[in-house]
Homo-oligomer: 328 residues x 2
């Protein structure tokens, strides 16, 4: 099977690509080719299977048709402008997060009209489709009233995913990923970046700023879990998902204080002392409108699984990405 990853230079996309290369197969079918695409060419190679890395601007006309011409069996659509970026750049956010997604869906539809092509499309949505006032926990059938442009854009693509799937143009599944913790490497522009930073930086002996109050509660999963979610979605029986194609992924509900306690268990009080409270009203306001916890019953019934503790999130980070590896 041929697999296309849009957004393969991103943290999750690159981890997914490497995992697919390692496994060599997806749902018992051998992977014959891997197309890795991002606005900057991903730097991933494999001796085991044909792996093309390409720099592609998905907002440019015609680029998606070229990618779809290869008729990938599975498309992971992870390309996005992140939350704070889409909030700052209104036009850019809609262009990347809505228009490019629709251009992808249209390219697939036109291929479908030509020869019946009907790939599995796995779309990375977000819990930012939910906005206040929110119950706690949030049930699977709760209304999507996002309070950021990013969340609006993700909710729009979820609606398109349902309609294109209903029409039979492709077989789409959307995953509302929890906030991913611990993200390796440098902070990105996401408003939620500090949820990783307050663990990652102290684990490396570096200072970290906390822009929100310590009683802020959030919904987390590891990068490893996110990759597992995406691969599980790619292999899922579409008929079992039903009409509403987007699923809230399981995660771990914890407070910032709970994260810091786990940090202390893993790295001691000196690590905790590296965190400084530096309230940022803009970030705090965005986070306040975000969800805290979910009852992801549909996803659990379909076999998706996440970590159960912040200690596990820290262990996954230390095993997969931790400071020792960064120093390589």
């Amino acid at each position: 099977m041929r697999i296309l990853i849009l957004g393969a230079a991103g943290m999750i996309g690159a981890k997914l690509a490497r995992k697919l290369i390692t496994e060599g197969q997806l749902s018992d079918r051998a992977i014959t080719a891997l197309d890795l695409v991002d606005v900057q060419a991903p730097e991933i190679s494999s001796t085991a299977l044909p792996c093309q890395c390409r720099a592609v601007d998905v907002t440019q006309d015609g680029t998606l048709e070229e990618l779809i011409a290869e008729r990938p069996d599975v498309i992971f659509h992870l390309a996005a402008m992140v939350s704070a970026g889409a909030e700052r750049d209104f036009e850019g956010g809609y262009r990347v997060n809505v228009d490019a997604s629709r251009a992808l869906f249209e390219a697939i539809r036109k291929a479908h009209m030509t020869d019946g092509y009907r790939p599995r499309v796995v779309f990375a949505s977000s819990i930012a489709v939910y906005g206040a006032p929110l119950p706690d926990p949030i049930e699977d059938n709760h209304i999507r009233t996002p309070q950021t442009s990013y969340g609006t854009q993700k909710a729009i693509v979820e609606l398109l995913l349902d309609d294109y799937t209903r029409r039979g143009f492709f077989d789409g599944i959307g995953l509302r990923l929890p906030t991913i913790v611990i993200r390796p490497g440098q902070p990105n522009a996401a408003a939620s970046g500090f949820f990783s930073g307050i663990l990652r930086e102290p684990l490396a002996g570096l200072p970290s700023r906390l822009p929100v109050a310590r009683d802020v509660t959030h919904w987390l999963a590891s990068p490893r879990a996110a990759v597992r979610f995406l691969m599980h979605a790619a292999a899922l029986d579409g008929a079992a998902v039903g009409h509403h194609r987007s699923l809230t992924m399981p995660g771990l509900c914890t407070t910032v204080a709970g994260q810091i306690e786990a940090l202390e268990r893993a790295a001691g009080p000196d690590a905790v002392a590296l965190i400084s409270d530096e309230p940022n009203t803009e970030i705090a306001a965005m986070i306040a409108a975000w969800p805290r916890s979910f009852s992801p019953d549909r996803a659990l019934a379909l076999g998706f699984e996440a970590e159960g503790s912040v200690d596990a999130l820290i262990s996954v980070y230390l095993e997969d990405d931790g400071p020792a590896k960064d120093a390589d």
Copy 2:
């Protein structure tokens, strides 16, 4: 104040225009100009106030910028491809119902960026944003999972309406109109057309086809109520609406059998005998995925009011549009 109606040649748009001309004011402000726009020029004139009727294809680049250049204080956005049409013509439905709406919102945003322009936008949404499985009644915070392309398109514009309003580009309010009964004149392409037809045709002594079972339940309001909803929305305090800008309008929950009983009360058994049951599986399937009844608490609290009986719907039709008037 200057008012723009997009879709002013449609049934509701024309009734709204005539009502505005009759009243001469909206929320205590005198109407100084009325721009009436549709794909075919509306045929409405007034001696009392300046009234421009224009044929405009809102899917053409630049047309909406021209209309917004006049800086209307209130914009009624009623232009749409109807449900069955959008289901048959996938590309056309998205072009008219999504792209033209977004082009309108973008034209307003650009004007806002230029001079702070910030009009009230009243958008005609639809109860088709809801799809099965549905509770009965449907609460205001129920998830929107439409099962038609039309409903998907309306739900997407509702999301855009919230985001553009949150950003301060305009002050939008969306109204999920019930199925409008009794529509005067000829049947249109809407799958819901028969809800009017089974009353309208027999009231004029004409035969009518019923494509669904008589126990089908639906949510109805008169054209007069729809016009009242739109005018009430135009005059509403935006702050009272909150972040989620679309409101399910109140209506009347009735079965097809209940409609037929009211027809018998109004026009006797001979009228009822003109209805023939001719099941249409395509229409029945669409209707089956539509909502039956609502608890429109937000709209009721904001002062929106609908009729309480099918008898009232028939009376409104006979007063405003009935067979006697058609014969003029």
